[in-house]
């Protein structure tokens, strides 16, 4: 089982990804391996804890765009919700959505790191 098969089990819609990456699996894998760096540079939890909601919104928005393009469907859905909650200033809902997001995100990152 390779990275693509494994990430498909965790979250990725490979058909959608291959359509976007023009059936270039190598390119898709290469871009998947960039995700840990993107997430490390745009932390959400730390800023949520410190109450910097502007940065929470900005970072969640960044990750949302990237995971969407990587066809990580559930992560994209969670980050979309976090962005919406932040815009509505419903920070409690944003925080509870982030909790389940981080659990899934951890699995995705672990999988990617295993093949990096």
């Amino acid at each position: 089982m390779g990275l693509i098969d494994e990430i498909a089990v965790i979250d990725a819609d490979i058909e959608d990804a291959m359509h976007r990456f023009m059936d270039n699996t190598a390119l898709y894998e290469r871009m998947l391996k960039k995700l840990p760096e993107v997430i490390a540079k745009a932390p959400v939890k730390e800023f949520l804890d410190s109450g910097d909601m502007e940065t929470v919104l900005s970072n969640a928005h960044t990750i949302k765009g990237v995971v969407g393009n990587l066809s990580l469907m559930k992560l994209h859905e969670y980050y979309t919700q976090i962005v919406e909650y932040c815009r509505e200033e419903d920070y409690k809902s944003a925080e509870s959505t982030l909790d389940k997001t981080l659990v899934l995100q951890e699995k995705v990152l672990d999988c990617i790191k295993k093949y990096s």
């Binding site: 359509h19 976007r20 990456f21 023009m22 270039n24 390119l27 290469r30 871009m31 960039k34 995700l35 993107v38 900005s58 928005h61 960044t62 949302k64 765009g65 990237v66 969407g68 393009n69 990587l70 066809s71 994209h76 979309t80 962005v83 919406e84 815009r87």
Partner: protein
């Protein structure tokens, strides 16, 4: 050019176009603007809105300021969930939105279509500019020929081409700045200024005994001198077929006929007053009066700028439009600007 701080987004779009175009990438707005200043081969900009250092909206504003937005199609990358931001981006000239996650088939055809559209548009603009340039050259040759006719009559009729042209242009530009109602497009001002050069062409039809007289004219001689405005219009009408630009011909005729009209109705030939006198003729009339005062004549030295301005302001040379007088005062408050007499 792809401008996005996320490499994944840049790579995806680059993959889409790498076989057709050379791809240039920038990870923030500042780097993008630097590349745009240095290169002339950018055919499209795919721009993320949220970026560090300089965001997409700032880049759009700067492209507007530089006029690039009319020549290069800009596509905005966004998650399409902020209507206010999207509206602002369209307002700043973005041609289309690329939504994340990308839908590659649509992106390719949309971007390609706009690149083609802008290429055709830019070609058309170049063709029009080239034609306008040719028209300008033909008009300027005609004006030079008419000026030569005037100058042939002797030093008394020496035409200071730079002076009247440049002062008229500066006056109308400054007038537009201080009064939005009187704002005229720069390209029209250029035509008016060129037309102003031949304001006195009718003098070639006035007898030497009057036109070259070295003293004060009698009432009868003055009446003859005044006919130069009508004679100028007649000459221009004879030449009308040689003007390549209808507007410029109209400006030239108006200026010839009305540059001695005065704001209080005490000028000639028709005694027009106020706004009945075309503003271009008012500007050329004031430019002519000021230019005459600060230029040397066979019978007197040139007045210094302070004296000339005070004579204009006090109405010694006739009453002019107060807004034009204000414009002139603004322009010469620190002495005669260099551009007044630059060829």
């Amino acid at each position: 050019m792809i401008v996005d701080d996320q490499e994944i987004n840049r790579v995806l779009i680059a993959e889409l176009f790498k076989d057709e175009y050379n791809i240039v990438e920038a990870e923030d707005g500042k780097k993008a603007l630097k590349i745009i200043s240095e290169r002339s081969d950018i055919v499209a900009i795919i721009l993320d809105l949220i970026m560090p250092v300089m965001d997409g909206m700032e880049v759009l504003s700067e492209l507007n300021r530089r006029g690039k937005i009319y020549h290069i199609p800009v596509f905005v990358i966004t998650a399409a969930d902020d209507d206010g931001l999207l509206q602002a981006a369209y307002g700043l000239g973005a041609v289309d939105i690329i939504e994340k996650p990308f839908k590659m088939v649509f992106i390719k055809s949309r971007i390609r279509n706009f690149i083609e559209l802008f290429r055709h548009r830019n070609e058309l603009v170049e063709m029009v500019e080239e034609s306008v340039g040719k028209v300008r050259i033909r008009n300027s040759r005609l004006i030079e020929a008419l000026v030569s006719l005037v100058e042939f009559r002797g030093t008394e009729l020496h035409v200071n081409i730079g002076g009247v042209h440049n002062i008229t242009k500066a006056l109308l530009t400054e007038l537009g700045r201080i009064s939005s109602e009187n704002k005229i497009e720069a390209s029209e001002i250029e035509k008016i200024a060129s037309a102003a050069i031949i304001h006195d062409v009718g003098k070639i039809a006035v007898p030497d005994t009057v036109i070259k007289k070295n003293g004060k004219l009698t009432d009868e001689e003055f009446e003859i001198a005044k006919t130069h405005v009508q004679r100028g219009c007649d000459i221009l009408t004879d030449y009308s077929g040689r003007f390549s630009d209808v507007d410029m011909f109209r400006y030239a005729v108006d200026i010839c006929r009305y540059h001695h009209e005065r704001y209080d109705g005490k000028g000639y030939p028709d005694g027009l007053a106020g706004e009945d006198i075309p503003i271009w003729a008012q500007a050329a009339g004031l430019a002519d009066a000021f230019d005459a005062l600060v230029s040397e004549r066979p019978y007197r030295p040139a007045f210094d700028v302070k004296t000339a301005l005070s004579m204009i302001n006090s109405g010694e040379c006739g009453v002019f439009n107060p807004l034009l007088i204000k414009a002139l005062n603004n322009l010469v408050k620190d002495g005669i600007p260099k551009e007044f007499y630059e060829e």
